[in-house]
C-alpha cells in the first residue's frame, strides 16, 4: 500500500527517459511470478519424489505382511486338513475352509484337493468335485515339500499352493487364493491421504511463500523504482550541469573576447593618442628651433606665421590634453555635471558671438522657436556641445556660408540642431562619426581648412554630455547639402544617476575647474572648435 501510494505521488516524468517506466504494480507482479513459479515447481517435484518413495516402501511392507499372514494361514490349513483328508471327512474339510475364509478377509478362495486334483472342499461351490489339473508340474510339486506361490489370471489375486503330507505321503493340496484388495485399498488410502496432505502443504507453503515473495518483491520494486527515479534525476542533473557549464564557458569566452577587445581598444587608443601628440609637438619644437637658428635671416612675415603656428599647435596640444582628460573622466564615470535651471538661448548667442569674431566671413544665426526655453542642465557643458558641433560646420562651410543654431520645443524634449552649408558627410562615415579620434579625412587638398586641426574627440565629448543629460545626438547629412547635427534635451530635466554626480563632486574638485575652463565660451571658444575634420 505504501509502495503504491508512493508510486502515485511521484509519477515519473516520462520524457526524461526513452524506456517507458513500468508501473509499480506491474513490476511487483512480474517479480512475484519470477519467484513463485520456480518455487512451486521445486516443491511439487519434492513431494512427488518423496511420495513415490513412501508409497513404494508402504506397498513393500504391506505385501510382506500379506505373505507372512498368508503363509501362517496356509500352514494352519495344511495341518488342519491332514485329519479330514486321512479320514475322508469332506464335511469337516468344508467347515474348516468356510470358517477360515469367513475369518480371513484376505482370502479370495480356498480349494482343498485330493491327490487326483479333484476339489474336495472349496469356498466356491462351483469348483467342487472338479479336477484342477492345470499344471503338469504339480505331480513333482506334490512330491516335494515346498510352498509354491503363483499369480493367477486375476492381477489382484495370487495363489499359494501347499502339499498336504502325512508321514511323507502326499494326501492332497491346499490352494489358497489371497486377494490383494486390502493391500491395494490401503495403498490407495495412503496415496489419497498423501495427496491431500501434500496439496494442503503445497498450498500453505505457496501462500506463505507468495506472501514473503510479495513483500520482498514490493520492497525490491520500491527500491528499483527509487533507483530508476534517482537515475533519471541524476541524468537530468547531469544534463542541467552540462548546460550550465557550457553556458558558463560561453560567457567566459565572451568575457575573454570582450577583454581582448578592450585591451586592443586600449592599445589603439594609446597609439592614436601618442600619434596625436607627436605631430603638434614636432611642429612646436621644429618651428621654435627654426626661429632660433635662422634668427634675423628670416623675413618678418615668416617669423609671424611661425609664431602663429607655434601658438596654434600649442593650444591644440592643450585642447587635446583637456579633451583626453574629459573623455577619460566620462569613461570612468567621474565627469562632473552640475545641473541648474539654465536659459539656453543666451548660451547659444554667446557661442555664436565668439565664433563670429573668429570667423568674420561666416554668419551664425540663432533661431529658437521659444527664446525663453529654460532647462535643468549644466550650462558650461551645453555651451561646449554647441562649440564642438558648430566647430565642425565652421571647418567645412563655404567662405560666406552660415551656421544655423535652431531649437524647437517638442512634447517632452527640446530638439536642437546646428546646420552648415558644407559638402555634407559621406554615408560610410556617419555611423563612426562619434567614435574617438574618428576623422573624415579629406583627400581634396582644396578643402577649406579654416579652423585648426581638431583633436578627434569633440564629437565624442558632445555625445557623452548629451547622453548624460538624458538626451540623444545624431547627424543628418546628404552629400552636397550640408550637415545637420541634432541633439535633444529632456524638458523634465535629466535622470542623472545620483552616485555619478555625488562621486564626482568630491573626486574632481580640480578637474571640475578644468572642464569649466574648457566650457567658457568667451575665453576658449575657437580653441575647442574644430572637433572633426
Amino acid at each position: 500500500m505504501r509502495a503504491e501510494a508512493f508510486a502515485d505521488d511521484h509519477r515519473l516524468p516520462a520524457n526524461l527517459s526513452d524506456s517507458k517506466p513500468q508501473t509499480l504494480l506491474e513490476r511487483r507482479r512480474s517479480l512475484t511470478l519470477q519467484f513463485v513459479i520456480p518455487f512451486s515447481a521445486i516443491v511439487l517435484c519434492m513431494i512427488l519424489i518423496f511420495g513415490i518413495f513412501h508409497i513404494q516402501s508402504r506397498r513393500k511392507d504391506l505385501n510382506a505382511n500379506l505373505y507372512q499372514e498368508s503363509e501362517i494361514l496356509t500352514k494352519y490349513l495344511t495341518s488342519a486338513m491332514i485329519d479330514p483328508l486321512l479320514m475322508g471327512d469332506y464335511e469337516k474339510m468344508q467347515n474348516i475352509v468356510t470358517a477360515v475364509h469367513g475369518i480371513n478377509s484376505d482370502s479370495a478362495y480356498v480349494h482343498v484337493m485330493g491327490v487326483g486334483h479333484r476339489v474336495l472342499a472349496s469356498t466356491d461351490p462351483k469348483f467342487r468335485n472338479q479336477v484342477l489339473a492345470d499344471d503338469g508340474s504339480l505331480q513333482a510339486f506334490l512330491a516335494g515339500n515346498t510352498i509354491q506361490v503363483r499369480e493367477t489370471g486375476d492381477a489382484s489375486v495370487f495363489e499359494i499352493l501347499t502339499p498336504v503330507k502325512f508321514e511323507n505321503r502326499a494326501l492332497g493340496q491346499v490352494r489358497l487364493g489371497i486377494s490383494r484388495r486390502n493391500v491395494n485399498e490401503a495403498i490407495r488410502r495412503v496415496v489419497r491421504s498423501f495427496v491431500i496432505i501434500g496439496l494442503i502443504g503445497l498450498f500453505a507453503g505457496l501462500a506463505i511463500y507468495t506472501y514473503v515473495a510479495q513483500r520482498v518483491a514490493t520492497s525490491n520494486a520500491v527500491l528499483f523504482d527509487q533507483v530508476q527515479r534517482f537515475g533519471l534525476q541524476m541524468e537530468a542533473t547531469v544534463k542541467e550541469r552540462t548546460r550550465e557549464l557550457l553556458h558558463a564557458n560561453t560567457q567566459l569566452q565572451d568575457a575573454n573576447e570582450h577583454l581582448k577587445d578592450l585591451d586592443k581598444a586600449k592599445s589603439e587608443f594609446i597609439s592614436i593618442v601618442s600619434h596625436e601628440l607627436r605631430n603638434p609637438m614636432t611642429s612646436v619644437s621644429g618651428f621654435a628651433m627654426t626661429l632660433k637658428k635662422m634668427g634675423e635671416r628670416l623675413p618678418a612675415e615668416k617669423k609671424a606665421s611661425y609664431l602663429d603656428i607655434i601658438i596654434n599647435e600649442a593650444s591644440r596640444l592643450t585642447r587635446l590634453v583637456e579633451d583626453l582628460l574629459d573623455v577619460t573622466k566620462i569613461e570612468l564615470g567621474r565627469y562632473d555635471i552640475r545641473l541648474a535651471p539654465t536659459k539656453i538661448k543666451p548660451l547659444a548667442d554667446k557661442v555664436a558671438e565668439g565664433l563670429k569674431i573668429q570667423n568674420p566671413s561666416l554668419s551664425f544665426p540663432v533661431e529658437f522657436t521659444d527664446p525663453e526655453i529654460e532647462l535643468h542642465v549644466d550650462g558650461d557643458k551645453i555651451s561646449q556641445v554647441f562649440i564642438n558641433l558648430a566647430g565642425n560646420g565652421v571647418k567645412y562651410s563655404p567662405p560666406d556660408g552660415s551656421i544655423r543654431f535652431r531649437a524647437e520645443k517638442k512634447t517632452d524634449h527640446v530638439l536642437f540642431s546646428i546646420e552648415d552649408q558644407g559638402p555634407g558627410i559621406p554615408k560610410e562615415h556617419i555611423d563612426k562619426l562619434f567614435q574617438k579620434f574618428y576623422r573624415v579625412e579629406t583627400a581634396d587638398p582644396n578643402a577649406p581648412r579654416k579652423a585648426p586641426k581638431g583633436t578627434g574627440l569633440g564629437l565624442t565629448i558632445a555625445k557623452k554630455v548629451v547622453e548624460m543629460h538624458g538626451g540623444k545626438i545624431w547627424v543628418e547629412s546628404e552629400l552636397g547639402h550640408g550637415a545637420r547635427f541634432c541633439f535633444t534635451l529632456p524638458l523634465a530635466g535629466m535622470p542623472v544617476p545620483v552616485a555619478q554626480t555625488g562621486n564626482s563632486t568630491n573626486a574632481s574638485g580640480s578637474a571640475g575647474t578644468t572642464i569649466a575652463q574648457a566650457g567658457k565660451p568667451g575665453v576658449e571658444l575657437g580653441s575647442t572648435g574644430g572637433a572633426k575634420s
Binding site: 601618442s274 614636432t282 611642429s283 619644437s285 621644429g286 628651433m289 637658428k293 635662422m294 615668416k302 579625412e441
Partner: protein, 124 residues
C-alpha cells in the same frame, strides 16, 4: 639646378616646417599631402630623396613606398620614413620596403635636415 626633395605629410604645419628648412639649406622642396600626389610628382620630376610620413589619409606610407619601388623611374629613389614610433616592427617593414632610414616623431628638425644632406651627398 637645385637638388629636389619630395616631402609627403598630411599635416600642413609639418610640411611647411620641413620645406622651409630644406629651402634654407639650398634644396628645392616639393610637398605633397597625399600618397597619390606624391607618387605622381615623383614619376614626373626627378627627385633626389623622398621624406614620407606613415600616417596618411588616402594610403599608408608603406603603400607609397611599395608603389615607388614598383615603378622603374622611382624604384631607386632613396626614402626616409617618418613614423610615430620606431620599433622592431617598423624596422622589419622598412627593410621589406627597401627603406634604409626611419625617423621617429617628434623629430629634431635640424638633425633630420642634416641626415637628408648626408644622404644626398653620399648619393653624389
Amino acid at each position: 639646378m637645385k637638388t629636389k626633395i619630395l616631402v609627403l605629410d598630411d599635416e600642413e604645419s609639418l610640411r611647411l616646417l620641413l620645406c622651409d628648412n630644406l629651402e634654407f639649406e639650398g634644396f628645392e622642396a616639393v610637398s605633397a599631402s597625399t600618397g597619390r600626389d606624391a607618387i605622381e610628382i615623383a614619376k614626373k620630376d626627378k627627385m633626389a630623396l623622398a621624406v614620407i610620413d606613415i600616417g596618411l589619409p588616402d594610403m599608408d606610407g608603406w603603400e607609397v613606398c611599395r608603389r615607388l619601388r614598383e615603378d622603374p623611374s622611382t624604384k631607386d629613389l632613396p626614402v626616409i620614413v617618418l613614423s610615430g614610433s620606431v620599433g622592431d616592427e617598423i624596422h622589419v617593414l622598412a627593410k621589406n620596403h627597401g627603406v634604409k632610414h626611419c625617423v621617429a616623431k617628434p623629430y629634431d628638425c635640424t638633425e633630420l635636415v642634416e641626415l637628408l644632406k648626408r644622404i644626398v651627398a653620399a648619393k653624389g
